[in-house]
Amino acid sequence: MADETERLRAVLHETPPERFAEPDLTRIMADGKRLRRRRRVLSGTGAAAAVVAVLAVVFGTVWLRSPGPAPQQVPAAAPPGTTAPSMVTSTPAPPTPQNSVPAGGVLDTGIRAEDGQLVFYLAKLDQPPGATFGVMAGVRTADRLRPLYLANEIKGSDRSFGFHATSGGMTVGTTWVPVFGYFSGPADRVTTTVGGRVIAAHAGKLSEDPEVLVFWFDQAEVPSAARLTPLTAYTAAGKRLTR
């Protein structure tokens, strides 16, 4: 067996016939610097809770620059005492208040935040190109919704069949935002596996689009999106929709 495994290894190490393109170092550094700046903002203790677009090549997440869902009174997304939101991209986009307006219903999570309850809702987007909506993690206080963190597809269609925009697993300001995302399709249930154990997500649909299932995991069970093994979706009848 050892000999045969060695043969497999030899085949795996066989040099491909054509050389691979060299990585574009200039672009790597430029994109890496942008990503680094965003991470700094992300880890800053509430210093800029409102606004950062977090670059991810496959799944994207966008911090809110501008606030609030209420049609007339749009509350600032930044916590008291913070500076006005500022995009950490080189070319900040103009404010788009509509991207934080709930499109449809609001999902209660039962997760307590400092001044309310964590909720999810769909938010319409006018950016980036191609994405028309994202899933917003926000806090419902006594009198308003305070948007915290938006996860949206940045590559391809935001309604193509499958999982999209899995992110979260971090503290925004003082509020823990669990690992969350959405499934586009006739799913009713979502699971993952962490450390060999199957974990069921909390999930709910929003009236805006019954084909969008928003899901999130308990912090204790899935503390980080990096811990997820491939997500699995099931229909209400138990039919498996993904591998």
Partner: protein, 162 residues
């Protein structure tokens, strides 16, 4: 040496190996080059933190998880317990045939099986490290590796057709 110079040297030193691994993971040259580019970008973003540790391991982990993430969304295949028809592995000396065999054989695997095969047998990582990098248990690595090897026709000590 300046940090950026160090990083450039790091990319030069390991880009071929990482891109090769990405190619084994994806089966597609362009996807592999994109995945390697992404892994290097994220490694550069974390460079100050990882440069004195093990940047290669960091880039490898980012690469593997990035490829797995990319497979999460649409259905690409359904896992099956049935093994495919066995076909002979070509003689080692036949490089072209070997590549064709490898490409066909790897395409039979699920993305996690592929990841385990690449981490275990291309990067030569021990099972516990594969488990850590994929965020799964050692038992899962063992069973996945076993299933993948069976599909690749390395089965119970006998490379069928070898």
């Amino acid at each position: 040496m300046r940090s950026d110079d160090e990083f450039a040297e790091f990319v030069r030193a390991c880009s071929h190996r990482l891109t090769h691994a990405a190619y084994l993971l994806t089966g597609d040259r362009h996807q592999a080059e994109d995945a390697a580019q992404t892994a290097f970008t994220r490694t550069y973003a974390a460079w100050s933190r990882v440069r004195r540790k093990d940047p290669y391991a960091y880039a490898r982990r980012v690469l593997t998880n990035h490829v797995i993430d990319a497979w999460r969304r649409p259905i690409r295949e359904y896992a099956t317990e049935q093994l495919p028809e066995r076909e002979a592995m070509p003689d080692v000396a036949q490089a072209v045939a070997q590549r064709e065999w490898l490409s066909t054989a790897l395409a039979r695997l699920t993305v996690r099986e592929r990841a385990v095969i690449v981490l275990r047998h291309f990067f030569d990582l021990p099972e516990h490290q594969v488990a850590t990098e994929l965020g799964v248990s050692v038992g899962t690595v063992k069973s996945t590796n076993s299933r993948a090897l069976a599909k690749l026709r390395v089965d119970a000590g006998t490379l069928v057709g070898g």
